[in-house]
Amino acid sequence: MPVLQIEHVKKKYGDFTALNDVSLTIEKGEAVAIIGSSGSGKSTLLRCVNNLEKISSGTIKINNETLVQTVENKAVYPPDKEIRRICMKTAMVFQHFNLFPHLTCLENITVAPTHILGKEKTVAQMQAKELLEMVGLTHKADSYPAQLSGGQQQRIAIARALAIEPEIMLFDEPTSALDPEITSEVINVIQRLAQQHMTMLIVTHDMRFAKDSASRVIYMDEGKIVEENVPEKLFANPESLRLQEFLKSIR
């Protein structure tokens, strides 16, 4: 069953075309990595999926519900309330974590379940503690984000995203703001999610991470999907010239 269906999506900023006819389907349990140079549109695609950006035309379905469709060449969105409901099936992990600095780590994780999902505080806290254990930060429950290292903050951010029980997790360069020696603690958490068959869409610059964590890798350039394949094949035998050059340039 597809969790995410993206069909012929275009996104324009004035004259600039950020996404040019992108189609992509993600099945339940898949971990898909998107690679490509800066400005290739990979982050924009992710941001369109959870409505941080509006598309110009095309269709996006999340969990078989239509977030946006195109009528007479114009993208049509449902009312805001409906958008929020549909997008709650996705959760995002940001490059710069974006934790709420005035809340403790535990509160960062419980704030959406209590205020948005209407869960009892005690229930939300119990689930948050399980999530903290999963990311290995039980002892940081009552610390504030400023008291944590970057890697720890990103693990809290992952726990916060998981707390709304999404069908698909979106990662926007989750390791790019981290020192190289601590990226592994974040990657380990994401790989554990992959083993538990969490559906994931991961935008990354880290090719080893893409190779080791993803079941499928997509290469984007100039707003288009140029090539996609299982990681072993995509990295070993890139078909398109552009991907060959990209892989050469980052080595």
């Binding site: 940001f94 974006n98 709420f100 205020h115 504030y144 400023a146």
Partner: protein, 219 residues
């Protein structure tokens, strides 16, 4: 300066001080919350609300407080609204300070990183919930210094109401000086104003410490 003369002055000065403090407290009590809708209004995407809020702020920050005081006390009766001295003073100060606080709130709200709005949005928060639960609590720490600055200005601005004859501290001092041809009362009034602003400075430092708890690094 002789002590017995000071003792005879103190009851009237003390009564004036109470009137000053009353004006100060009532102004803050009403203008602090009143600033918020104007702050949110001036960043609203609904343009009539935005224009209304910005115009309000422009008028009250752009004209002298003394003029506003005269307008409300002497001018409004022409439109059938007659306020007594004290009410006119409080209304003027509340309207005026709300405009300054609105600007402080607006700047505070807009200083919060865009990532905070985005994170809240992806977790399912409505814009209003984001404002209430995520953004405004974070602005409190940042707006305490400019707010205490305004509060200290307010202590001194209360002296303006002498102009419409409200019996606050400066008026009490002035009356004593005119009566006795002795400037001791001015000196005492200055000491009292300084004591009040000193207390406010201490209070604002305490508040700042309290609201920056979450920024402390691991010890």
């Amino acid at each position: 300066m002789d002590i017995t003369y000071i003792q005879t002055l103190m009851p009237t000065l003390w009564a004036g001080t109470l009137q000053t403090i009353k004006l100060f407290v009532l102004t803050l009590l009403f203008s602090l919350p009143l600033g918020l809708p104007f702050a949110i209004g001036s960043i609203s995407r609904v343009w009539p609300i935005k224009i209304l809020s910005k115009t309000y702020v422009w008028i009250f920050r752009g004209t002298p407080l003394m003029l506003q005081l005269f307008f409300i006390y002497f001018g409004l009766p022409a439109f059938g609204i007659k306020l007594d001295r004290e009410t006119a003073a409080i209304v003027t100060f509340v309207l005026n300070y709300a405009a300054y606080f609105a600007e402080i709130y607006r700047a505070g709200i807009q200083s919060i990183d865009k990532g905070q709005h985005e994170a809240a949005k992806t977790l399912g928060f409505t814009p209003w919930q984001t404002m209430r639960i995520i953004i405004i609590p974070q602005t409190i720490k940042r707006i305490i210094p400019p707010i205490s600055n305004e509060a200290i200005t307010l202590v001194k601005d209360t002296a303006l109401v002498t102009a419409i004859g409200v019996a606050e501290l400066l008026k009490a001092a002035k009356d004593a000086v005119n009566r006795d041809v002795n400037i001791t009362a001015y000196f005492l009034a200055a000491v009292i104003y300084l004591a009040l602003t000193f207390l406010l400075t201490m209070l604002s430092q305490k508040l700042e410490q309290r609201y920056s708890r979450h920024e402390k690094q691991e010890v």
